[in-house]
């Protein structure tokens, strides 16, 4: 079954990219979920869409070859910084930042898309993911992002954990909570931009949260939960990509459905455990 994925270049890059995001999306997702920031991932993915639409428009209308991956990444990172600014403006209603940024992202996307007179298939791929969208250049860029993200998480693991568990205590003990948080949000933006090729704008937050939701039911402790989330993330990506390819369905859909099946099994196992 896997033979095609090794035979054709474009499939190989898709597969390898899938393996990378199967690690980094749940890795950051663990922190996102426990900090109750799941919706931020959604907001950022829509901002990324605006960036992608901008890149495609620039290419079609003005012949600027920025590359949608790069413009998407730039928008995502800018969006993440903007969310933090908004959260400090609305201190008592921090979640307001999310609909503001999300709708802003969609609004901009619509404008860029219509200025470019629509993009047809390309855009569909960005919404739901694609098995054939990853070029060698994309793959190398995503590889660089993955290495960077994993390195930063390993280096700052104890700070990220401390901040996630108890922000007040982290601040009192002298950690630079705000700066660490900003670093974390920027990392999230990068991971979202990197994941969109495979899972698509609409489903990228699912790959960051569903594996975590499943492992939360089973794991003992935070590190175990993180490792289990990555395992579930990889399983979802591998099964989802292969089945998506053979069934001619965008992989975003199949990956998310596999994640949901894993989640249901995890909930079932926990039930049985409790009964025994």
């Amino acid at each position: 079954m896997l033979a095609d994925f090794f035979q054709y270049d474009f499939l190989r890059y898709t597969f390898l990219t899938g393996l990378l995001i199967g690690v980094i999306a749940p890795l950051l997702g663990t922190f996102i979920v426990v900090r109750r920031l799941s919706l931020i991932a959604d907001a950022l993915s829509h901002v990324t869409l605006a960036g992608i639409a901008f890149g495609l428009m620039a290419e079609k209308k003005f012949g600027l070859m920025i590359g949608p991956l790069y413009s998407g990444m730039a928008f995502s990172v800018l969006g993440s910084i903007l969310i933090e600014k908004l959260r400090s403006v609305y201190k008592a209603y921090q979640e307001l930042a999310i609909p503001i940024i999300l709708s802003g992202g969609v609004g901009l996307s619509v404008i860029f898309i219509s200025v470019a007179d629509g993009f047809n298939t390309d855009l569909f791929n960005y919404l739901f993911g694609s098995v054939s969208a990853v070029s060698q250049n994309d793959f190398l860029m995503i590889l660089a992002i993955a290495i960077f993200v994993i390195l930063v998480v390993v280096l700052f693991y104890k700070e990220l954990f401390t901040l996630s568990f108890d922000e007040e205590h982290a601040t009192i003990s002298g950690l630079h909570s705000k700066r660490i948080h900003l670093l974390f949000i920027v990392l999230t933006a990068l991971v979202i931009a990197a994941s969109i090729r495979i899972v698509g704008v609409l489903l990228v937050s699912a790959l960051m949260t569903l594996p975590v939701a499943a492992s939360m039911r089973l794991a003992k402790g935070f590190k175990q939960m993180m490792l289990l989330s990555i395992l579930f993330g990889e399983l979802s990506v591998i099964i989802g990509l292969i089945s998506g390819y053979y069934l001619s369905i965008p992989p975003g859909g199949t990956i998310v459905m596999v994640s949901i099946i894993i989640l249901l099994i995890a909930i079932g196992i926990k039930r049985i455990k409790i009964r025994v």
Partner: protein, 251 residues
């Protein structure tokens, strides 16, 4: 010369236009076990936040071991235990060991990892609060009293000289409150920690504290527990601004 753990000089603080603390002067001597009591809204939590550096005084100065709190280099000198047994997210998937290890994060510093010495320290702190057998359990599975012991361990792990506790026994049943105070007493007597404890539970606290202050916008009382317990209800009503029943746990 031994400096006091905390020195407050003419400290005032107001939220918007409402003065919460007015010209507070007092010291927490090194090695003391000081209880802070007072009515709700009397400024107890504000006082703690000022000492922790979370708020800045409008007036006056606060020193921790003779260093201004803003410029305090070594923040590990202070350990803090909040009302977390009620407030923290009980579903948080972390083991006792992981929670206590977070107390060392700032001490170890950026770009460094936990080593064998740190691991021993973490286990030692868990042992000190009598929770070693639960070290690898999820903290959410423990009772409120047990969780509060874990938060003490988190405060202890960086070996602070001063431990500040903000109503740590709220929501914990009487038997466990007693055990909790025994633990504090041990830290005070055997390890010579300075303790600053904000509480409503004056009955049990007066059995262990060495000093008591009563706070209601200004400092209304500062003295020994014997003096505090010998106050009449009339005196106390004056401090609190309303009638007070002294709750005794000597049963």
């Amino acid at each position: 010369m031994e400096y006091p753990a905390v020195t407050m000089k003419n400290v005032s603080y107001a939220y918007e236009n409402k003065t919460v603390l007015d010209q507070i002067n007092f010291e927490v001597p090194k090695g003391a076990f000081m209880g802070v009591v007072g009515p709700n809204g009397g400024g107890k939590t504000t006082l703690i936040k000022l000492i922790l550096g979370l708020l800045k005084p409008d007036q006056g100065s606060i020193n921790i071991f003779n260093e201004n709190v803003d410029k305090l280099q070594d923040r590990n000198k202070i350990g803090f235990v909040s009302q977390k047994a009620n407030a923290f997210n009980k579903g948080f998937p972390a083991t006792v060991y992981e929670v206590v290890s977070s107390g060392l994060t700032a001490t170890i510093g950026y770009f460094k990892f936990f080593n064998k010495t740190h691991k021993d320290k973490i286990l030692h702190a868990i042992d000190q609060v009598g929770m070693l057998e639960y070290a690898y359990e999820n903290i959410g599975n423990l009772s409120g009293g047990q969780q509060q012991r874990i938060f003490i361990a988190r405060a202890l792990v960086s070996d602070p000289d001063l431990i500040i506790l903000d109503e740590p026994t709220v929501g914990i049943d009487y038997e466990n409150v007693k055990r909790f105070y025994e633990l504090l007493n041990q830290l005070h007597q055997k390890q010579h920690k300075t303790l600053l404890l904000v509480t409503h539970d004056t009955g049990t606290m007066t059995e262990y504290a060495t000093d008591i202050v009563c706070l209601n916008k200004t400092l209304h009382f500062h003295g020994k527990p014997e003096e505090y317990t010998s106050l009449t209800e009339k005196d106390l009503s004056q401090f609190y601004g309303h009638p007070v029943n002294i709750v005794s746990h000597n049963h």
